[in-house]
Symmetry: D2
Subunit: 386 residues, 4 copies
């Protein structure tokens, strides 16, 4: 299987900053740091974020690959500096530190800590937690924003909303014909990114309750892409299937524990005759009676909106820490405390949008090729089908 879009990220949570490189974006795409900043800002919002989100303001500097606001077809490098670096300069120094620093030795349940030190032979959990931190997703959002720009330019839009926090479910349906930028502007107005005002209030309450108890809550969100052509992804092999690629991307975020496409797990409980989306022909167009498939049949986009739901677990770092052990003595201890949001589900939904954007841009370029945006557009138009 190929990747037309590939990317790497680097950087520790309290290091100098995050670095990212994305390869495969065609030449000729208009791109600015301001555009990327929008999604970075959206990721920092949400009721229940800790202190860090309040003091910081992530900004992704485009370091190369763009000239005079136009992509060059070259790899694009991004840097998000750690604005708090001055407080970590010695503890996280690349070179020799000036003084000794206390090691972290009590692994946090739910986090990479324990498995990480076992994997890498570390005696300091900080060497794990700095990279396994959710901080890295800031760079993914920046990279996702670039892919989103490419998709937008050919008519594909991505939106999301939170539909559950803890046991509070926002049952308000998304209007079938809602534009995704409209969905996002509705959801972005809510501090929990849900649509229903009653649900919003209850969600805020349960977050506050968790916060007051030194606890954390998770939730679920849905991501939708509209304007899809037929045939992104493939049925010919395991690697090509679009839902597999989307699932891989979503589940590559540590806190995400489940993913489903269309009706998902609910598909299990209905008869085939109730589930499958019938094929109709109306107004000179092929239409469907429903979208339980979530826009993917046989591993390919079917020109319906892509619809994905993702579950996020409660954050693993708790103010009132869980039982753990000290790895130097194996004595029972409370787990290490580090950065502390009580809820990050609204931010997670932005990350979900970003991951979907990366996958869809990759699949689009795989199908249509093209080294420049002009070529990509011509290739798409040449099919006469979209």
């Amino acid at each position: 299987m190929l990747k037309k879009i590939s990317y790497m990220t680097a950087g520790e949570s309290h290091g100098k900053g995050l670095t990212g490189i994305i390869e495969g974006i065609p030449a000729g795409l208009e791109l600015t740091e301001e555009y990327i900043a929008i999604d970075l800002l959206r990721r920092m919002q949400g009721h229940g974020r800790g202190k860090r989100m309040k003091i910081e303001k992530d900004f992704a500097e485009i370091f190369s690959g763009v000239r005079h606001q136009i992509t060059l077809g070259s790899p694009i490098a991004l840097i998000i500096k750690n604005l708090d670096w001055v407080n970590w300069e010695d503890r996280m120094a690349v070179g020799k530190p000036k003084k000794d620093h206390k090691k972290v030795t009590m692994p946090r349940p739910g986090h990479a800590d324990l498995a990480g030190v076992m994997k890498y032979d570390f005696d300091d959990i900080r060497n794990v937690l700095e990279r396994s931190s959710a901080r890295e997703t800031a760079m993914r959002v920046a990279i996702g924003a670039i892919c989103r720009k490419l998709l937008e330019d050919v008519g594909i839009q991505i939106g999301s909303r939170v539909y559950q926090i803890h046991d509070i479910v926002d049952t308000k349906a998304i209007d079938k014909d809602l534009n995704m930028s409209k969905l996002n502007s509705l959801a972005d107005k809510s501090s929990v990114r849900c649509l229903d005002k009653d649900a919003e209030k209850k969600m805020i309450d349960v977050i506050d309750q968790a916060k007051n108890n030194g606890d954390s809550v998770g939730g679920s969100f849905e991501v939708i892409a509209t304007g899809m052509p037929y045939g992104l992804g493939s049925y010919i092999n395991a690697d090509g299937k679009l839902q597999a690629r989307i699932s891989q991307a979503m589940m590559s975020v540590n806190a995400f524990k489940g993913v489903e496409v269309g009706a998902g797990f609910a598909s299990s409980a209905v008869f085939g005759s109730e589930l499958h989306d019938e094929i109709l022909y109306e107004n000179n167009k092929i239409t469907r009676s429903s979208n339980n498939a979530g826009g993917i049949e046989g591993g390919m986009s079917n020109a319906q909106p892509i619809h994905v739901k993702v579950s996020m677990k409660p954050i693993s770092t708790l103010i009132k820490p869980l039982r753990s052990i000290d790895l130097t003595t194996m004595e029972p201890k409370l787990a290490h405390k580090e950065r502390t949001d009580s809820c990050a589900v609204p931010a997670a939904s932005i990350i979900g949008e970003s991951m979907l954007a990366i996958v869809l841009a990759d699949a689009l370029l795989e199908k249509f090729g093209g080294d420049s945006m002009e070529q990509l557009r011509k290739h798409i138009e040449s099919s006469g089908k979209y």
Copy 2:
């Protein structure tokens, strides 16, 4: 990201047969066609299978890569012949057919048919359905069996069971200390691969009901791997995360619409303090109070059993077909009818085991290296941790 284990499959449902090649299996692994046959047979079982499963008996011939029952380290080729080829020889001929064959022009909702013809410019849906068919999973099971053998030889075992068919849920818990081969022998005794006898009866009933109505049902299953070391997978990048690789593998099966690890979607609804698996030290061993993480923290195995749940939608081909259109005229028609199981969830759980086996063998070899089973074992032992 690397793949130590890579594989390709080829073959259409009614063609000459399926071909598979797997690369990366170390030299020195004992392997026989009989061993592979066990999982192929398990995949063919289950209440609700159609006629084809009854007449066929899949057999994967090892065509190369194994000598005197020992793997050579070379690519292993497998061939599963289509025992019904004689009836399809002209319709599916590689060369010039002797006569014209009726084209399939009514796409089945839920299947690859419509998106497939759009993607590839076909005027005959058969060109799509032959490859997009679930038949291909027979080869994946054969390839998965080879990976399973490797895992077994280093103490990792994989088992599964069906816990839901349609709206019938088998709530019987799997005993925490149950051996996976024991789990499989229990589940294999049931024609729906569940554990509870009452649930089994109801599941059979709902399958029969679907069958009588020309309808189909889906369901859900769970797959478990025991004997896991610490540190398979990685937190350092998106591609390395173990849960992402497992999700990719599971969701690469067309009919699978959702996947979750550990508590999965249920994680959303509990507090962090209730969810995360506390770290204890008992009898000179690190233990955990629970396994809600499903054996994966921070994208790595944490030495707890891997626990994955997967949802399968009802089969898309219905005896009582859904509404569709004829693509040559755009007139309303009923969808094409092809092969017809009314339920394939028990088989799906075997496919799930196979996909997990492939991912875990890949991640194991990624961590430990080794060109022969002897080297692999020495590398594992040298760590002193497992």
Copy 3:
């Protein structure tokens, strides 16, 4: 970096046969076994081949991926049966052998034997030599033929000729405007695939001399592709460079020890002002004063013919074997004898054509995309540049 065309081969030299799977060929390409057979036959020719080439007649059966002489877009599986299998059935049995077989324990200098047993912990060199054999290149030629067909359909042609065997050099230049099918028909008429009749005679003589001495000779050949568009490959990263991909492909054949593009090593010895191909505009077309770059500048095709030269060492198995040791005793012994051509350079040039075809088809699809030949053609035409 992506691969649009990927393939795997499997099979041991004296096993049941070779298997190959190629993924990424668009749907709608006309393809027959007869077409593939042409290149397989060309690979079997040449003065200096041993007995096996004379008794065998390789035939690649298309096992799947093609229907009614048209590719399906699905993976294409190929099988080349070992016509001599009956004589090896027990020695190379996949299952338990009926009797013991003598182990091969004297490694041949120049072959994979020694490093292979060290790598895989074998006590029988046969486990190495069966897969490391040049036999595998038969499947690469079959796969290359499929790629060649695709290229031909969009106007790219590949030809080759041998220009050196041992110290005999055919200095006859290839006519600048010679059509590649014409070049191949000229070269194919010679049993050493060279163009000059005097050189041919001397080459045959030196091969006979080697044969009479139980020795072997190598040589060099050149491969050319015409009809190239601008911009296959890329300068943006190391993996994308076209000359890197070609070199990788060529040097993946064991006996090939050197590769050069255009003027190659000779580039070292001239001034820049003498070497670089000046850019002219003649008859409303950009032309070049020469093609010392071999059709590649900055890692991209530059619309000039691709020109590659490759060196093949003498075959490592000698009738009059070299000094070696018995690995069971470390006593000095003569090396093992196995299959024995005295010269295989003409065959090597066909393999070179095949490897180039695979790389160019991959790079073409990478640039232009397209799931069907129709789409590929439309994408190419839409640029208006080719």
Copy 4:
């Protein structure tokens, strides 16, 4: 095929700087910016470099992935700032430029210019030349230095020397038992990195001659790795062959036009009995009579030194430019002038070392696995063979 070591680079020649990320380096490797600086400095040396090399002093800042001089197993990010950025700030601005800048419209023969604008639909060659510039190799050398450190820690050393500039050949043989750090210190003392003093003088003369004529010269160098174990690389597939991977890496540098392993092209002209390296047993050790194979048999390292030769063409940018055309008018013009070394072969040999280091580190980790240097060492020792 897998990659254990993967990397990306980004950055334009006159942009803000180069960025690189390398993934796959185990945890626990000692690494400093000073160590990397050594090879960067070596790359900047050599008689015939232009002005830029004299004013600049490349320094690769480790931005992440290393803490307290020890690698974390996380991706390592590197940044090499452009010290001349102030002079290019507006011409190469990521954002909107303050004024118009003259477009480059006369493509340089031998460079990416013409094919690049055709590929990407550019009207300004600067958009091509900035990325296709050899400047990017500075980052590859930095990345190579990290791999070199890893190799050194397990006893593998890499050295090189220039043996030809223009038509001047340094025929002085490298002493068979010469330590590679000794070779490098000898070569580094020469401003053309050759060993023989007479050849050195003549090389300097021919470079000066080229310089005075506004011309350029190329040359050839050899790279050697000692301390190799058996079995890096593989014969089982095309992608695994070590010589293919080395050739790919070398030929991924734009100016490199030929590569050969061991006797290389000279292999063509000798009999098999003269070429192949006989296998002996002396002093309780397997030895070889020669190393014409260049340390690779059957696509694997054979415990002899790896020996690779590479040819570099003269630099394509000439002070006295070649004929070209103006792409806006198609009128004949002289080619664009840009940065101007008259010879860069000594620097090229350092790049060659770096590329070999990357390939060998990848192949080493592929065979032995290991997430930390401690594990890697244990895995290597466990074999008892090295």
